[in-house]
Amino acid sequence: MELFRNPNIDFLGKKWYFLAFSLIFSVAGVFSMLFWHHIPLGIDFSGGTLVEVKFTHSPDDNAIRSALDRAGLRQPKIQRFGSAASNEVLINLSQEETNEQALDRGKDLIIKALEKNAPAGKQDLNNASVLSVTNYLLEKDPLHAGVEANQRYAAIAQQIVNFRDKSKGGVLASFDDMKGVVDPAVIAALQDGYFLSDFGVRNVSIVGPQVGKQLQTQAKWAVVYSMLGMLVYLAFRFEWIYGVAAVVTVFHDTLITVGAFSLTNKEISLTVIAAILTLIGYSNNDTIVIFDRIRENLKLMRREKLSDIVNKSINQTLSRTILTAGLTFLTVLALYLFGGEVLHGFSFALVIGILIGTYSSIAIAAPILVAYQDWRAGRGRKPAVLAPAKESGRREKVKAKA
């Protein structure tokens, strides 16, 4: 099987279409970043309180909102999370509700507000820790455990919490669920002191303002350093103009990817930044494959025009470019479709980024080389791109070894 047999597409001839395409997406993204959704920052960067709650039934957003309102929490953001069947909701409190003096105040208020109709004097088993269940059982001593009480009740409490979290996804709907898991006497004792709320907390993130700002700065520097790293490496391996072309391309990819997050109003989290850094490395791969071929062809076809050499190089590597990107895209798509809600932003960035990164190594990186040379020629200087001498020694060595 073969995707392309000797393709001969005039990519450089279509550079204006490419430019228009890139401009539309970049400008749309920048517009959204400036005037519409801005850059939607996740809790890692904006700071705040994020609580993931799983209900036993389909959650009612309005009921949650009014409960939180009564607890005095200002403007909580309430989002459905995961599939409809998973009954999950994300509750997001802004930075203003989160301060370093009492970091977990917001979380405690949310749990208290949702524990409606809590019977007086009873604790919520769905949000109880192993330790509190252990201590409760020790006090009640339903099994008359004697000297081994400590270990026995600790094990039972662990068993109950494990059953709740691992088998029931974090929430028990009724005390009867535990029949067959623990001794009936224990269930009876639990019923005296505990009630079951209709929700369980699965995940809590509380980020204070200081860490949020710190992470923002670090993320920016990480992106800048990655691009600088690319520039330096490619300038060292090729000519500096190759490095510039690659970095411009990668910047274009990053801009469009971040723009896509802004346009779709998806939040940028730490893992999304990880995805973007990976893209900076990865989208260079295709560019390098094409540059490598351009350099090789420069030696073979000394008399031809640079634009022809570039076109030919893109066509020769087209099959590889599409295949490698396609295969990586396949795995990233699997991640996007099956990897779960937590990795959603991460895999979304990779899906967009790999598509754009592949397109841009053909449509942006290579034409920059040609445009640069045309510009140099226009000013009557020697074309700098046509100087492959630096690398030839190394290539010879490889041949000799092979």
């Binding site: 970091l103 996804g169 699965r202 809590v204 200081q210 850094l277 295969l327 990795l343």
Partner: protein, 539 residues
């Protein structure tokens, strides 16, 4: 088959076995259960997969500086008195932000050299510089200051580790968090109750015994009124609290307490939970020899007076001294069992050198963790299968070659995770999936090049040689760029993101071995079994 080939094969099989050992160790049985157990023993799961609590806290290093500066002021006052140097005032102009700066006012010019001599001899970590109108600035040297701050962070880490160890948390991470100033990263797998752990870690556990001079009063104003608006000399007002209980009592109480303490937590030898005659939990303690002597002298001189037990600047208990106490005693309070146990534990573990502030708190419930594992593994298997099947369809015989290399690549990556003790996080699983997608790129690069050479009329052996030769440099280039960004990610990232950077980097390093070396050996083996001129199966 030549001898060279046998060596290469041995190397590959050896690598395979070593990394299989890395993944599974020596499993107790080869059943599914035995293997799964062996796997989870070797490969550590991150908090996001296992569930647990992640905290970032900041050591308030200025607390430690302030203690040092307070001591310096005391020594300065004493020495100036001894050498008869006059001064009007010794203050700290900005105690909140720069406690290391001490200003002496009103020192006459002729005493200047005496002051300098005192600082040089008695306070070697401080320097003197002159200000306006007979004021002198005594401040800590920059190096001593940064050493003191770093020492406070290290001490805080030690103390917190002592306390966490006694809680029985398995595999806790307590380390300096290099991304911020004086921050500590604490990761506690399996801990689902961060509030209690935070209370225990945060407790500075500064225990003092002082003389109680009056109280309780319902408010500060009431206390002042009692004494005609002015506090008696060498006394301070301190709030009372029922220590350890998370819900602070609504009504406040205040006590008048002597400024000096008789003994402090540093004089403690041991502390443990015990019970009073009514069966109420309390904390009993023993003092060191020196501390016991001082305590005996103090209580002997104050029989009938009040003794105040002060913890973290809050009055825990005020009791009448009935008789001289030597080296042991009890602290009463309305403790629960757990509270008394926790208090004894933090007293034993020593005091924190400075207060701490929580900056970030994340708790992942175990139910979310297991959902994440399921989703991640599903995605990995589907992605992997898609790639393996595609390679077979597209490259036929050579596809098998690529698939073998890819599977070996995964085994090396997972084996590395087992050996190194690096943790596998959810983004780490994504890194494994990406390694599959990016790793196979190397095979595609090589195979496409071989096809191209074959199309140009080269014989299979020479096409294979050319293919590997040309693709090699490109593969190194592409791997370097990805690893550079992964390294930056490792430096800037924490926890889950670091896990991603680690798996991606080692996956790609292993890929250099599998996609280039292993794949080449397989090609050579296939070519050696073929007749001259026979075609190569590469789609």
């Amino acid at each position: 088959m030549n001898k060279n080939f046998a060596w290469k094969l041995a190397l590959i099989v050896g690598t395979l076995l070593v990394f299989l050992f890395g993944i599974f160790g020596i499993p107790r049985s080869l059943s599914k259960q035995g293997l799964a157990e062996a796997l989870t023993n070797r490969i550590h799961l991150g908090l996001d997969l296992k569930g647990g609590t992640h905290l970032i806290l900041q050591v308030q290093v200025n607390d430690a500086v302030k203690v040092d500066a307070d001591n310096a002021i005391e020594r300065l006052k004493a020495d100036m008195k001894a050498r008869k140097i006059n001064y009007t005032e010794i203050t700290q102009p900005d105690p909140a932000n720069h406690p290391e700066q001490i200003v002496t006012k009103g020192v006459p010019p002729e005493s200047r050299s005496d002051l300098m001599a005192i600082v040089n001899e008695r306070l070697p970590e401080y320097t003197v510089s002159s200000g306006a109108e007979n004021t002198w600035m005594v401040s800590m040297k920059a190096q001593a200051l940064s050493e003191l701050k770093n020492r406070a962070v290290q001490q805080a880490i030690e103390t917190i580790r002592n306390r966490i160890d006694q809680l029985g948390v398995s595999e806790p991470v307590i380390e300096e968090h290099g991304l911020g100033d004086y921050q500590i990263l604490v990761q506690l797998p399996g801990v689902d109750d961060p509030a209690r752990v935070k209370d225990i870690m945060q407790s500075t556990a500064m225990l003092e015994f002082r003389q109680g001079m009056g109280g309780p009063y319902p408010s500060q104003e009431a206390a002042l009124q009692e004494h005609g608006g002015v506090l008696p000399p060498d006394t301070v007002l301190m709030p009372g609290r029922s220590i350890g209980s998370r819900q602070n009592p609504e009504g406040e109480t205040w006590y008048l307490i002597s400024r000096a303490s008789a003994v402090t937590g540093r004089d403690l030898r041991n502390a443990s939970q015990s019970r009073d005659e009514n069966g109420q939990p309390n904390v009993s303690f023993q003092l060191t020899g020196e501390g016991g002597r001082r305590f005996a002298a103090f209580t002997g001189a104050h029989v009938g007076d009040n003794l105040a037990v002060i913890l973290d600047n809050k009055v825990q208990e005020v009791a009448v001294i009935k008789e001289q106490i030597h080296d042991q005693g009890v602290i009463n309070g309305h403790f629960g069992d757990q509270e008394a146990k926790d208090l004894a534990m933090v007293l034993r573990s020593g005091a924190l050198p400075a207060g701490i502030k929580y900056l970030e708190e994340r708790t992942v419930g175990p139910s979310l963790g297991s959902d994440s594992i399921r989703a991640g593994v599903t995605a990995a298997i589907i992605g992997m299968l898609a790639v393996l099947v595609f390679m077979l369809l597209y490259y036929h015989g050579a596809g098998i070659n690529a698939d073998v290399a890819l599977i070996l690549n995964l085994i090396i990556l997972l084996g590395f995770l087992g050996f190194s003790g690096a943790t596998l996080t959810l983004p780490g699983i994504a890194g494994v999936i990406l390694t599959v997608g990016m790793g196979v790129d190397s095979n595609v690069l090589i195979f496409e090049r071989i096809r191209e050479e074959l199309r140009n009329g080269k014989t299979p052996p020479s096409a294979v040689e050319q293919g590997f030769g040309h693709a090699w440099i490109t593969i190194v280039d592409t791997h370097v760029t990805t690893i550079v960004t992964a390294a930056i990610l490792f430096i800037f990232g924490t926890g889950p993101v670091r896990g991603f950077a680690v798996t991606l980097t080692f996956g790609l390093l292993a890929n250099l071995f599998t996609a280039v070396f292993v794949s080449r050996v397989i090609f050579d083996w296939i070519l050696s079994r073929k007749q001259r001129g026979e075609a190569l199966s590469i789609g």
